[in-house]
């Protein structure tokens, strides 16, 4: 089995990272949480992250800009955007710029779990170990 996938969660609302961390760790991912997108980007440049979960509207840098930088730096990385202000235009822009998926807040943890699992699968990695359990619906 390949190395554990690493996920970065970026949201200036601390609750999001706090709540998502256990959800993702239970799937076997290594998780790092950031409230500041600029710091997150700096960390992205030095570390190896396969999946980024980011808010769109943040102080400092918006999620679309983050998406563009991440994709420029690591085209293979899957970026999942979440937003409390969903609109078809932003969704279209996000998808056009290569976002893997676009989720509206508030969302159920399970919804995000499924999306991250799909992202992991599409990376061609082995599915994380718990996905066998998760297939039982």
């Amino acid at each position: 089995m390949s190395e554990t996938l690493r996920v970065m969660v970026v949201d200036d609302e601390p609750i999001v990272g706090r709540r998502l961390r256990p959800v993702l760790e239970k799937l076997g991912f290594e998780v790092e949480v950031f409230e500041d997108p600029v710091l997150a980007l700096a960390r992205f440049a030095e570390g190896r992250f396969e999946i980024v979960v980011s808010d769109i509207r943040m102080r400092g840098m918006d999620g679309i800009a983050l998406l563009e930088r991440v994709r420029a730096h690591a085209p293979r990385a899957k970026v999942i955007l979440i937003t409390g202000h969903p609109s078809p235009e932003v969704a279209a822009e996000a998808m056009a710029k290569g976002a893997f998926e676009y989720i509206a807040k508030p969302f159920k943890t399970d919804a995000l779990r499924r999306v991250v699992e799909r992202a992991a699968l599409s990376l061609g990695e082995m599915p994380p170990p718990s996905s066998s359990g998760s297939s039982e619906e």
């Binding site: 609302e13 159920k108 170990p129």
Partner: protein, 535 residues
Amino acid sequence: MSWLTRVFRRRASGEDITLLRLRTTRFRQLLGSYASLLALLEDAADKQGGGYILDRQYVIALVEQVAELADAVVFDLNVITSHRNLPFYEVADGLRAQLRAVLAQGSGGGSDTVSEVRTQTAVPLQTVSPSTLAAALARSEVLYRQSGHVACRGVAAGPVCNLSDGRQSGALPPGSVLVATDVEVEQAALAAGRAGAILLDLGSAAGTAARLARELRVPAILGLGDATSRLATGTEVTVDADENVVYRGRVNELLDYYRSGRPGGEDEEEYQLLRSVREAAFPLTVGAGRTEPALSDCRTVRDLVHLAHGLAGDALHELLSTERGGTGTLVRLGGPAWCEVRVVHLDGLHRSDPSGGIMPSEVRSRPLRAFLEGFSNHHGTSSAGHHGADHHAAKHGAGEQRMPGLAPCTLRAAATDEHALAVMTLSRGFDMLDATAGGGRESNTVYCRFAACGDGDPEAARGAVAAGVLMRLGFAVSVMAGQASGWLRGLPWAETEDRVRIVGYLFARLARPGTAGWERSAVEPDVEAFMRSCA
């Protein structure tokens, strides 16, 4: 006002029709805003449950939506009442400010300061590595995943104590996982103090059990459907109420993971904030008594909106019922004429009706036709429809054999093909129906309102009977000053019409309480009797 006298003239002038159309349409919009407020209420309660990740933005947006609805309702009220309720604006502004203040307070001790202190480099503190944890979870058998509603988050493990096999909650061993169909308040209070987690077949995130679980901070998943039949007493389970999952057996890695790294079982700030906002916006705090509350009593947006919708309804009643003479098209119900029914068509397409009136089946408006069917069915089958064995039904049945000398009541309606507004004037107050049926599910709505008191009914128990029936019919019901209002939306066309038919029947049944009047003590049996009689 001169137009009032003209509105119901058989050939009402175009302007009168326009006014009636404007007012009924705006009233419907107002009711729609109220219904949207109720929908927000439900949605917020759902989000509070814990299954969702919500952020401050959600709460902020909720506040703005609620305030916006209040604004819209107050505006519509003022248009309907010719700007006689301008002070409502000040109160609405005040409530908006109050809600924003709740937000500001919530952030006072706030995330901003805390987040600056919080370390940004995220070093996992967990003693259990993600891969170990994930592997352990993958090995575990999942009993439930996303099957119920999370009432209180948290993680716990223990042996099941299944109350459905006759066990008393007092016998619950401490730290066990309480499994039951549903729990009564006392039972839950007793049990929850000792339970490590709660799993229920029934229950919703907004119910009593949920509230208790949250207060006592016991992880709880409700509405699982078949927990009592699947989980025998003694079975070891692990409840992960953070993710709405139940595992068979004890998953030690999961428990260790949370013990080492989980923030306290307390609700996060965002959830506390949501709770404060809900408390400040949604409860109906006025009108518990029998007297009409005043504007100054309004403490929540719901209070204000409820009061406004009542006043708007009064204005519509006034508009529809002022002229008592030959107005609109007469609808012949058959049988003794105990109620005079007249309809004004607002769609401009109606051909002139025969002067002798029309039958209910000839009414074009679908909701009005359904309503009148129910209304007249009661009348036509007053003896057959009631079961003589039933005391209460018999009592009321006797009341309907009305004496010719009694003043007839009047029922006035304004209708289009898919909408009907009807008011029935009583000796004290009035009953009202506003129904739309004929579009898709979302557009099918029924609103009705019942006066608090009937003849010789000082206890305002009449409204309570109506409220009881409406609740059985699936309406969202609010009672203010004894007067019952109910909302229903989102049912398919045919089902909506069925409910309207029953409401019509209820109108007729409640028109006369019988000689004894309504008694508060008899509300429950009266409701039962009514439900049986329409079955």
